[in-house]
Amino acid sequence: MADVTLTIDGREVQAREGSTILDACRRMRIDTPTLCQLDTLTPVNVCRVCVVELEGARVLVPACSRKVEAGMKIRTDSERVRHSRRLVLELLASSVDMSLCSPQVRGWMDRYGAAPGRFGKQVATVAQPVKVDNDLYVRDYSRCILCYKCVEACGVDAQNTFAIGVAGRGFDAHISTEFDVGLPDSACVYCGNCIGVCPTGALMFKSEHDMRAAGTWDESKQTVTETVCPYCGVGCMLELHVQENSIVKVTSPLDHSVTSGHLCVKGRFGFEFVQRRGAKG
């Protein structure tokens, strides 16, 4: 495909036709906040934290999904951009427990001066009890920013199981199975691919959840061992997160050519036999 030339923050840049403004920003090393975007998923452009100012447009445009066009003039750090990014982060953090988000998210909060407390104390939040309905993973939707990533991963972007969807409307919109049935009654096959894409800790290995509750979760004591899944011949790469000689969670790198970060229930959760042998010796 051909290249187009556009201007970002006063600098001219070449970008591949069909790529996004975000791609161009990244190539220019302009750090752009994103919450609902992931390279392996179709853009849903719902969080709006990545908005940029496009000359001639009435409103700001989402960098993560807007395709580059020749001659675009874009500003990524104007007053309007900073204002909307700040408000998006503030509004989210005022309604959701974002304490387990990555340090990067906290960095953006600082950069844009987000002060979620300023809306007052008596404001609606999504606080609710953690859903623990199986032995493999838990769902704590009081941490959910409704980025749609888990729904995409469970659906056509990876797993094609469609066990969860977005239900309700407006502030009451939330991730749910049909009629809010527990995972064992749903179509879920426990591939854990939703956990792999969740940016907030709303979806979490039960092992991690229990250790956090007991106060024993300690990432500084953890090591990551790379290996290949032993179960079948596909060759999925596993990252075993190990604390005190026990596997506490399993991930796969997003950029791995075989998995794109996705696994099946065996690679994701089928590690119990390792520790059992160790324990019973």
Partner: protein, 544 residues
Amino acid sequence: MDIRTTGGPATAEEMAAVDGLLGEPQPADHRVVHGGRAMRSQRHLLLPVLHAIQDRAGWVSRGALEYACRRLSIPPAEAYGVVTFYARFAPQERGPVALHVCDDIACMLAGAKVVEGAHGAPCLGLCDRAPATLTERFGEAYEAVQTPAREAARQPGSRLLRRVGVVDPDSIDSYLQHGGFAALKLAREMGPAAVIDEVTRSKLLGRGGAAFPTGRKWQSVADAPVRPHYLVCNADESEPGTFKDRVLMENDPFALVEGMAIAAFATGCEKGYVYVRDEYPLARRRVGEAIAQARERGYVDFEVEVRRGAGAYICGEETALFNSIEGKRGEPRNKPPFPVEAGLFGKPTLPNNVETLVNVLDIVNGEFADTRLFCVSGQVLHSGVYEVAMGTPLRALIDLAGGLLPGRTMRAVLLGGAAGSFITPDQLDVPLSFDGTRAIGATLGSGAVMVFDDTADMRQVLLRIARFFRDESCGQCVPCRVGTARQEEILERMLQSPNGDGRADVMLLSDIAQAMRDASICGLGQTAANAIASGLTQLKVLNG
């Protein structure tokens, strides 16, 4: 896709409702694989199926939903997301009757109270009959009854409303006697290109609220190389205070059908839809019957289907409307791509408002004049739809509606519905035109004109508007989903304690407003702060 259903069987009644719409299920033949593309192409039938279930049973049970999902090959979690998106669908059991009481602005002013056991509803599009209700009786003979009109349909206009109250809306012969289908005949003689030229030359601007030049939209669809082309008539009319499209559809349904036939002919649309809001049962029936009669006589030669909304203001937004027809949650899409390139089912689509399409008849007939329908409601003597020339002063329109009630003085006018803004008594000479209103920072929007006199509790009005946006946000994007909730909370606490730290809250509201305007996906979030901001600054509701 493996559809797992664990909710137990549907009742015989529920299965009959689904099968009544989809036909009897084929006996299982395990040598062939079901599902796949042919099944998925039925996804668009989800809303009609849900309506069939609920009309019969009064609610959508888990068993019924899972039966529908098996028949349509839709994952139950996704279908549940659709059920819970639309206010009209009930995922909990309830009695055989549902009473919806409008507690929106015009009805509030008329003293409406949501009685126990009833459901409060946003504007039902019956503001000229305020206080208004909609009653649904479920069962084999489902019926929905609207508050009846108190006065016979008046015709305070000359052009668009000339057949209202004159023709028999159930009879194509009556319509033909009043010059019906002459424009379509003429259009077919002129040819598509000449029709589009006339529409462009008329400078007609869309009447759905966004005021987009109709001719330009038609040209783009006609030029689109991808096939098929779809025509979508937007009859969702849910902007509070707006009911003009209902008056047209209930009283002159053939005119809409003729307008659609001309539009489809000019732009090469193979298939058309009329998306009518659920709260308009009479309009839906009349338009459906008009289509059938017109088809029988050969006036309609393309496929047209009436689709029924399910209680969601956002589905008036054109891309949300497409998703709704496709059987999905009514979440607006990011633009570009625009509907004329990739709209309904991803194909080039012409979305037009009811009043826009009815105007086309006169454009083709050479009788077009730049008039427009206004819906006057609230505290005036004769609420109703009035047709006046563009540029008419607002004051003259209010006089047409009989003016204020005796002994009252004017407090404010809300122009353009909840997405519009307030006008003060000293601005009543503003000309009702796009430029005239823009000059004072207002908009005509959907043509809603709501009048408030000195007895109106403007604080409650502002709060109702804030609640409207919180309830109707689709919930997709953060600025609108959380912003409309915060806006309502902050406004409520400001109105409760006018002596509190008001200035900080005004700042907060304006910060939220700017982010909603700049960063929201669609027009709902982008305008959700307008009326409240103008109420606080123009009307000084807090200080009064």
